[in-house]
Subunit: 256 residues, 2 copies
C-alpha cells in the first residue's frame, strides 16, 4: 500500500504522517516513510534522535546519483530530464532506519538561487510508481504544502491520497483542488482527515464540506502536539492523538 | 519598495500580505500585489468581489505569453528557459484592480501531471528584478509556503523579506532557513512578524528565537480572522488586526 499525505500548509501533514508510520511499524509492517517536503522535518516528528538525523543523506544531496539517474548535468534551468531513472535499489541503499521506520528524505534547498527541485521530484515519482510492494509493505509520503506536486505528478503511483484539513475554508478549498488534480494523475481514492478539531461544530463544518464517505476521522486539537513542536519532540507521545490516528488507520486499511 | 511575504505553510502570509497591501493603497501608494502561491487566494483576502475574481486571468493561463517570453514550447519536462523575458508591460496589461490594489496572480495548477510551475517563476523573477519603481510604488509578493521559491530565486529582486511566523519551533526553523537562503540570492533584509499571538509568553518565544531587531511586531490571534476564513471574507474588517499591521508597516517603512 502506498499513500500520500497532502494538504494546505500548516494543517498537520507531518504530524499525521509520522504517527501513521509509527503505528504501521508497531504492527509489524515494513514501512518506508518519504519526506517529500523541502521545508518539513519528518525525521524529528518520527522521533529520530538528533545524532541519527545529522547523519541522514537526503536525496537532494545525492547529487551524483540524481545527475546519473535523471540525466541532469549543469544548472537546473537548462536540463532535459531522463524520465526513467533506476530506482529499485534506492530504499535499501539510501534509507535511514529507526523505531522500525525506514526513512527517505528529499532534502532541503541548500542554497538560494540553486534552482528548483524538479530532478528530486522526478526521482520520487519514479520511486513511488515502480516500487514493488509485498503484503505487509507500506509507503507513506509526506508531501509538501500546496498543489505544485500534483502538477509534477510526484505521487502518481500511490493507491490513495489523504488530505489533512482543519476546520477552515482555505484548507477545504485545497482538498477540492487536490481531489480534482489527483483524478487527473489517476489517483481515484482521496480521503480526508480533519485535524485540530475543537468541538462538534468543527466536525460538522468539515463533514459539510467534503464528499460523503471521504472522511476517515478526526484528530482533536492538542496542546501536547503544540508543545511537541516547540520542544522538537515527536508527537507520538500524545496518547489521545495516537489513538485517534489508530482509528483512522484501521478505517483506511478496510478501504484500500 | 518591493517586499516578499514568506514563511511556513499556514502561518498567515496571505492575510498579512492582503492587509499590508490595503494599508499602502489607503495611503495613496500605487500597490502591485502579486499572488505567487498556486494554492492561495490573495484576491479573496484583498476583498475582491467574486465576479471580479472570476474574470482574473492568472499568469499560469497566459500560456502564449509565457511560451513567447520564456521560450518554453512543449511540455514542462523538456524545456530550456530563456532567462530574460520582457516584463515591463506586464503590470499594466495583466493586472486586475480593486480597492486601489493592482493584483497579479501566478495562478493555480489546472491539471494534475501538467508539470511544474518553473516558467511562471522565471517570469515573476524577471518581473520583480526589473520593474522600475517610483517613489510611491510598492510591490507586495505573497510567496508560496516553504522554501523552494528561494532555490528558484523568484523574489531575488526584492528589498526585503518579511517572514511570518507563529510561536512554534517549525515556523521559526523555516525563518532561519529563509534568512540563510535569502542572503544567497542577495536579499540582506529579512524581517519577522509574529502572528497568532495569544500572550506575552508567545511574544517572548518568538523574540528569543529570531535575530535581535528582526521583529517588526506582533499580530494577536483573532477569532474574527478565523471566521473570515470560513466565510470567505477579507480579514481587513478586523480593526485590531489592521491596527497591528499598520504599526508593523510604519516600522517597516522606517527601515527600508
Amino acid at each position: 500500500m502506498k499513500i500520500a499525505i497532502t494538504g494546505k500548509g500548516g494543517v498537520g501533514k507531518t504530524t499525521f504522517a509520522a504517527i501513521l508510520s509509527r503505528l504501521y511499524a508497531a504492527e509489524g509492517f515494513r514501512v518506508l516513510a518519504v519526506d517529500a517536503d523541502p521545508d518539513a522535518n519528518l525525521a524529528l516528528a518520527l522521533g529520530f534522535p538528533e545524532e541519527i538525523i545529522a547523519g541522514i543523506v537526503p536525496i537532494a544531496e545525492m547529487k551524483e546519483m540524481i545527475a546519473e539517474r535523471t540525466n541532469t548535468p549543469g544548472d537546473s534551468f537548462s536540463k532535459m530530464f531522463k524520465l526513467n531513472p533506476q530506482v529499485d535499489d534506492i530504499p535499501d541503499k539510501y534509507c535511514t532506519r529507526y523505531n522500525g521506520v525506514n526513512l527517505l528524505t528529499m532534502g532541503t534547498v541548500e542554497n538560494g538561487g540553486s534552482g528548483c527541485v524538479c530532478p528530486e521530484h522526478v526521482l520520487l515519482k519514479r520511486l513511488t510508481s515502480h516500487l514493488v510492494l509485498h503484503n505487509k509493505d507500506v509507503v507513506v509520503m509526506d508531501m509538501e504544502a500546496g498543489i505544485e506536486h500534483l502538477g509534477r505528478g510526484t505521487a502518481q503511483g500511490v493507491n490513495a491520497f489523504i488530505v489533512v484539513v482543519e476546520p477552515g475554508a482555505r484548507s477545504l478549498q485545497t482538498y477540492h483542488k487536490i481531489k480534482k488534480l489527483a483524478a487527473d494523475i489517476g489517483v481515484k481514492k482521496v480521503y480526508v482527515v480533519g485535524n485540530k478539531i475543537k468541538d462538534q461544530a468543527d466536525k460538522d463544518y468539515v463533514l459539510a464540506n467534503v464528499d460523503p464517505d471521504a472522511c476517515l476521522g478526526f484528530i482533536t486539537y492538542s496542546q501536547n502536539v503544540v508543545h511537541s513542536d516547540r520542544a522538537d519532540r515527536s508527537p507520538y507521545a500524545d496518547s489521545q492523538v495516537v489513538d485517534e490516528v489508530k482509528a483512522i488507520k484501521d478505517k483506511l486499511s478496510a478501504l484500500i
